[in-house]
């Protein structure tokens, strides 16, 4: 049966369809929103510490060697240059997040994942890393090594 658009039944039907449609959309949004929020993990509360006393003696690190130490849950490369200076750099490669290592043969810092290298100041020298590693200040308290985040 043909019903003219201006008949009251037709416009009422359209109004009800509109209400129903928007209700469906609103319901879908209210179901999806918590799910989408649930998928994003909460931000880890950044430790406010800036100073970390390590359980490592400064004399444990021989010249031209290095090791990874956990600092506030992140890996840090603690190493001694051939000249004898103790230095610390964030160990997270600035390319794609691998953990770098001290390479004694060349006295440089190397990321094994994509063959990126840094010098002992943390400057990106070759390979894909786009930025230098961040240095940490190295102090000694008694025998113990203390790292300070800038």
């Amino acid at each position: 049966m043909h019903v003219a658009a201006n008949e009251p039944g037709q416009s009422r039907r359209r109004w009800i369809s509109y209400l129903l449609g928007t209700s469906f959309v609103a319901a879908a949004v209210s179901f999806l929103y918590p799910i989408l929020r649930y998928l994003v993990p909460p931000e880890a509360s950044e430790p406010s510490l800036t100073e970390f006393e390590l359980d490592i003696k400064a004399s444990d690190i021989a010249p031209n060697t290095g090791r990874i130490v956990p600092v506030g849950g992140k890996p840090v490369l603690l190493f001694r240059t051939p000249a004898g200076e103790l230095r610390a750099l964030t160990a997270k490669c600035t390319h794609l997040d691998c953990t770098v290592q001290y390479r004694a043969e060349r006295s440089d810092i190397w990321c094994a994942c994509h063959n990126g290298t840094y010098d002992t100041k943390g400057m990106n020298v070759s390979g894909p890393p786009p930025r230098p590693l961040t240095p940490l200040e190295v102090l000694t308290r008694g025998e113990k090594v203390v790292l300070k985040r800038a």
Partner: protein, 353 residues
């Protein structure tokens, strides 16, 4: 017996299904062998589902226990080595067969109308297969997998704007930790299987609906002879599946899948870090990308390039409307490039200490 048959027939309607099965035919021509690849992929997928379910009975998805539970399976559980090695080898064989299936469908132009949707669902299934491979790789929680996942989940972070959010969602935090393992486990055993079920279902229904495609060159010579799918083609299919099972068992027995060393977030990435072979071309490509190209970070460009490549692959039947030969040339270039990068990534490194 006749009573049971008519009882089930009235309630389930087997006859319609039996009729469809009897009607299904496979064309016979010089390229018929490529029709076996889809069935082979499907078979290897069911092997993955079966062995995957068995692995669930012993596997523990936490950073403290995952490595040990796989070690226990490999060393102590009767035939645990077999189930796990078949799952690992099967995954690689499966991805390999899926690639071959796609390459043959491409060169035989089986994506011509009306089979565009079959290709598109197939491309999505390829991405899902790679997702399975990537998420499953981390589950044993060994050093290789740990760093490969660090790199792999940092790649989406290169997308401007939403990259970091994407990477956080994938990792379940800002770093690869036990939270990432839980997430990848959920993705590997629940989310991807659910999505795959839908796409695989549509893919298979479409294959039945349109029947096997006859390559254009064969079509021009007239309608080829056919063989019945049941039993003629299916029995040949099953010979191939038996060979696949034998190959998997032999690989599992003679080359058991290695477990490696437990992941240590506070150890440097060891030399020789590499992902599964089907990601090697991307991995090698990332090494060659300079830090900046025309002021834009190299990795960002790389991610956009890969995204573009995936998009072109997925909607290829909609782009290749005129069946231009340029597409074949482009595909050959991409395949040779990927093969070259893969070989380069396997060569010993000069700068290794």
């Amino acid at each position: 017996m006749a009573g049971l048959k008519s009882w089930t027939q009235e309630r389930l309607g087997w006859d319609e299904l039996a009729h469809l099965v009897q009607k299904k035919e496979v064309p016979i021509h010089r390229w018929t062998i490529f029709y076996y690849l889809g069935g082979m992929a499907l078979f290897l997928f069911t092997v993955q589902v079966a062995t995957g379910i068995l692995l669930l009975l012993y596997y523990r998805p936490s950073s403290a226990e995952a490595f040990e539970s796989v070690q226990y399976m490999m060393a102590d559980v009767p035939f645990g080595w077999l189930i796990r090695s078949i799952h690992s080898w099967g995954a690689n064989l499966f991805v390999g067969v899926v690639f071959l299936h796609m390459i043959s469908v491409f060169f035989l132009k089986a994506y011509r109308p009306p089979r565009e949707a079959t290709w598109i669902t197939g491309a999505v299934l390829l991405f899902l297969a790679m997702g399975f491979g990537f998420s499953g790789y981390l589950l044993p929680w060994n050093t290789l997998a740990y760093f490969a996942t660090k790199v792999g989940t940092d790649v989406p972070a290169q997308i401007p704007g939403i990259g970091h959010l994407l990477s956080r969602i994938l990792r379940g935090g800002s770093d690869v930790t036990g939270a990432t393992l839980s997430r990848f486990y959920g993705i590997h055993v629940a989310i991807l299987p659910a999505i795959t079920t839908v796409f695989l279902g549509v893919h298979l229904v479409l294959v039945q609906r349109h029947g096997m495609s006859v390559p254009p060159g064969i079509e021009r010579q007239g309608k080829p002879r056919t063989m019945r799918f049941v039993p003629d083609f299916l029995l040949r299919d099953m010979v191939g599946w038996l060979v696949a099972v034998a190959l998997l068992a032999a690989l599992a027995a003679f080359l058991p899948w290695e477990l490696g060393v437990k992941a240590d977030p506070f150890a440097p990435a060891p030399a020789g870090i590499r992902p599964e072979w089907y990601f090697l071309w991307m991995f090698q490509g990332l090494k060659y990308l300079p830090a900046k190209i025309a002021g834009i970070p190299g990795e960002t460009l790389g991610v956009f390039f890969l995204g573009g490549l995936a998009l072109v692959l997925a909607i290829l039947p909609l782009l290749d409307r005129k069946r231009s030969r340029l597409w074949n040339a482009a595909a050959v270039v991409v395949l040779i490039g990927a093969a070259l990068l893969t070989v380069l990534s396997l060569l010993p490194r000069k700068s290794m200490p």
